[in-house]
């Protein structure tokens, strides 16, 4: 009996120790909060808050400018005055005038803006600090419409689905390639995906610099990369039952990796166009088409020696290309900068994971393995091709 109660007491003690650090932490936090000002006085004095707004989006509609601002700092921030092109303008605020941490409001300014002219908006806080944003050229912000929706979809098809499908048409030719050349094409795919992965990663790093530091951009990127890398690993395991991916399974993984990248690409195109930062032109669209046709080659290579139906190929093309359409919609009609960072991070993680899968395939199937000239040459050629055609989409 005694031994039993001793054990249960020990068990209670063990449980207690799981919460003791948390309780003590709460106590210490309470003390620090209470005496924080005296703590700061020991070492100096705090600088005043920057009192700058984060101007997230400026939208133009006939006779009106809408400015969405966020408070990126700890202290509250109050919208007191609004300038357009260095002139005080009347305005109303859709939302609260005083913004708590990370809160947003939209300022509505009746204004007779001139299309294609540069324009500057300035939002002044109650402490007199003016945050200025320059728009290189004012263009009417697209509003959601059936035409616009279909238009974005058409652009997505042209820069995503179509080139990938065309690339898949290399399949009959690939079927005649010998094992050495086939492994070279697989390595080419790995090079291509490395390029896309790095591009997505750098894109997400660039986007996160625009986020308020409180939103922890780098942590968000690592989270996105890790999530998609591990998710893709789990998917690969499930598709192949544990062994290295080959054939259709590998083609599907490549298609998913490319598809996630194209989601980010579509998002970038849609958002840049909606914000008036991008000219959608013939050259840009053609550039993206040439850039993306090699993605089809990457998907076709793993199934070069596998029987696949046209329907399966169409499915693969959709997996890789259709996300571009989704991306243009999200980018064109929403304004979440957090989403952009996360999507590109997810794309990077997926691409890198597929590089690992393809690498394992090449290591196993290429005559001479990863060290063969075909593998090394193919990998470098993949990167070089993406770089060269990337200039067109740049």
């Amino acid at each position: 009996m005694e031994a039993g109660s001793a054990t249960s007491r020990a068990r209670v003690g063990w449980r207690l120790w799981t919460v003791v650090p948390v309780l003590l932490l709460a106590l210490v936090v309470g003390l620090v909060v209470t005496f924080s000002s005296s703590l700061v006085d020991l070492v100096g004095s705090n600088p005043p808050p920057a009192d700058e707004f984060d101007i997230r989006r400026v939208e133009f509609s006939p006779g009106e400018i809408r400015i969405t601002v966020r408070n990126p700092q700890r202290d509250e921030l109050t919208i007191a005055n609004v300038n357009v092109d260095d002139a005080i303008v009347p305005f109303t605020v859709d939302g609260s005038t005083t913004l708590g941490r990370l809160r947003s409001s939209t300022i509505v300014v009746p204004y007779d803006w001139v299309p294609a002219d540069p324009i500057t908006v300035g939002v002044t806080s109650s402490t007199g600090i003016e945050t200025v944003k320059e728009i290189p050229a004012a263009v009417e912000t697209p509003v959601p419409s059936v035409e616009g929706f279909l238009g974005y979809a058409l652009i997505g098809v042209l820069v995503g689905v179509l080139p990938v499908s065309l690339g898949l048409l290399w399949l009959p030719a690939l079927r005649h390639a010998g094992p050495a050349w086939l492994s070279a094409f697989m390595a080419f795919t790995a090079g291509l995906l490395s390029f896309l992965g790095l591009e997505a990663l750098s894109e997400s790093f660039q986007l996160q610099t625009a986020l308020p530091s409180a939103l922890g951009g780098t942590g968000l990127i690592l989270l996105g990369v890790a999530l998609s890398f591990l998710g893709m690993t789990a998917l690969a395991g499930r598709l192949t039952g544990g062994s290295a991916a080959t054939g259709l399974a590998l083609a599907l993984l490549v298609a998913i990796g490319i598809g996630l990248h194209n989601l980010g690409e579509g998002l970038a195109i849609g958002a840049s166009f909606a914000l008036g930062e991008l000219q959608l032109g013939t050259f840009l669209i053609v550039g993206f088409m040439i850039h993306n046709i090699t993605e089809g080659l990457g998907i076709a290579t793993p199934v070069a020696k596998t029987r696949v139906t046209i329907l399966t190929l169409a499915g693969l093309a959709l997996v890789a290309g259709a996300p571009t359409i989704l991306g243009t919609w999200i980018g064109g009609y929403t304004s979440s900068d957090v989403l952009g960072v996360l999507f590109f991070a997810i794309a990077a993680g997926a691409a890198f994971q597929v590089v690992v899968e393809v690498g394992r395939y090449v290591a196993r199937h290429a005559p001479g393995g990863l060290k063969s000239g075909y593998a090394i040459g193919g990998f470098l050629a993949g990167i070089a091709t993406m770089f060269a055609t990337g200039v067109l989409a740049g």
Partner: protein
């Protein structure tokens, strides 16, 4: 990212031969142009205004209720209306007391500027004497920085407000004979000068001639600016310290009465400021001295420059006045005379 794309796009021109399949792209472009409803063609001219809203907006219409300004109708009367001119009397002493303090000034609705001021406002109080009066100004420094008062005019150099720096908590009495008859200014002369002036330590200083000016409705307008975010350029421009104040509350004057405006420029950072009257003309006497009057509707003043305007209004109603630098006008330096019978 998008910017990189924009610049890199130019490389495409060089790669034009590669784009041997431009037809599909062109189709896409046209489809997009139509799809997004971006109908430049219907506007006819690509630079035509996007707005179909007329009236209601535009700064010319910002008057009365529409003009955002701080406070109520008579808040600035002590600065706008100078103390009355006194007839010449030999040996008379005129005493003033000025205290420098640090205050938060509301210069536009909800926008606060941490200023340094004489007697609570920027500009400070109007100091007035008649030529020959003995002027005695007791200055107390209740601010956190050393200050002085430097008066324009003729006086002994030890009363010049340059050598006698008054520390926090200190005081100094300036005493000298008021001369010459003119419209002057006064301001702090501590270093750094630019900082001490733009923070708000300045004001109007009238010395009336022994032979008085003709009777008139007298007004004082000190033009200034406020750099609320400390970047070395003004965010707001005002007359007497509040942006758009006289647009919100037009100055009522009678048509039968001569209107005399003592106009001074104490704007920092910008080299010149100006005054432009709508719908009428006025006489302008530079520095308020001499017999030469310019007949005009626009005058320009350098930093520290000032003069006297005399207006005989021809018509009734709202007469706009503002800096003829459009930027200053649209950043708050704009107002109205409401001329009544």
């Amino acid at each position: 990212m998008a910017k990189i794309r924009l610049t890199r796009r130019k490389l495409l021109a060089a790669a034009a031969p590669l784009a041997a399949v431009p037809l599909v792209g062109k189709l896409a472009l046209d489809a997009q142009a139509q799809a997004s409803g971006h109908d430049h063609s219907s506007h006819g001219h690509p630079r035509s205004p996007a707005s179909h809203v007329h009236g209601a907006m535009g700064h010319a219409a910002m008057v009365g209720e529409e003009a955002p300004a701080v406070g109520g109708p008579n808040d600035l009367d002590a600065l706008l209306f100078p103390p009355p001119a006194l007839p010449y009397e030999p040996g008379r002493v005129r005493e003033y007391a000025l205290t420098a303090t640090d205050v938060d000034l509301e210069v536009a609705p909800g926008v606060f500027f941490s200023g340094w001021v004489y007697n609570g406002t920027a500009p400070g109080p109007v100091i007035r004497a008649t030529e020959g009066d003995i002027l005695r100004v007791r200055f107390v420094n209740a601010g956190q920085h050393p200050h002085t008062i430097h008066f324009h005019g003729i006086h002994p150099t030890n009363m010049d407000g340059v050598f006698e720096i008054v520390p926090t908590g200190g005081e100094f009495t300036y005493e000298f004979e008021a001369r010459p008859a003119a419209f002057h200014v006064y301001h702090c002369h501590s270093m750094p000068l630019k900082k001490h002036i733009h923070k708000g330590l300045y004001g109007a200083f009238i010395i009336d001639p022994k032979e008085p000016r003709p009777p008139a409705k007298e007004l004082v307008m000190v033009m200034n600016g406020f750099d609320t975010d400390g970047d070395g350029s003004n965010n707001f421009y005002t007359v007497n310290g509040r942006s758009l104040y006289y647009a919100r509350y037009p100055i009522k004057v009678k048509r039968s009465e001569l209107v005399r405006v003592y106009l001074a420029n104490l704007t920092e950072f910008d080299l010149v400021n100006s005054f432009h009257l709508h719908a009428d003309f006025f006489r302008y006497q530079p520095t308020g001295t001499g017999d030469t009057w310019e007949y005009t509707d626009t005058v320009m003043q350098c930093q520290g420059q000032r003069g006297v305007l005399e207006i005989e209004f021809t018509g009734l109603g709202l007469h706009m006045f503002h800096a003829h630098q459009s930027e200053f006008a649209e950043l708050g330096w704009m107002g109205f005379f409401d001329v009544v019978d």
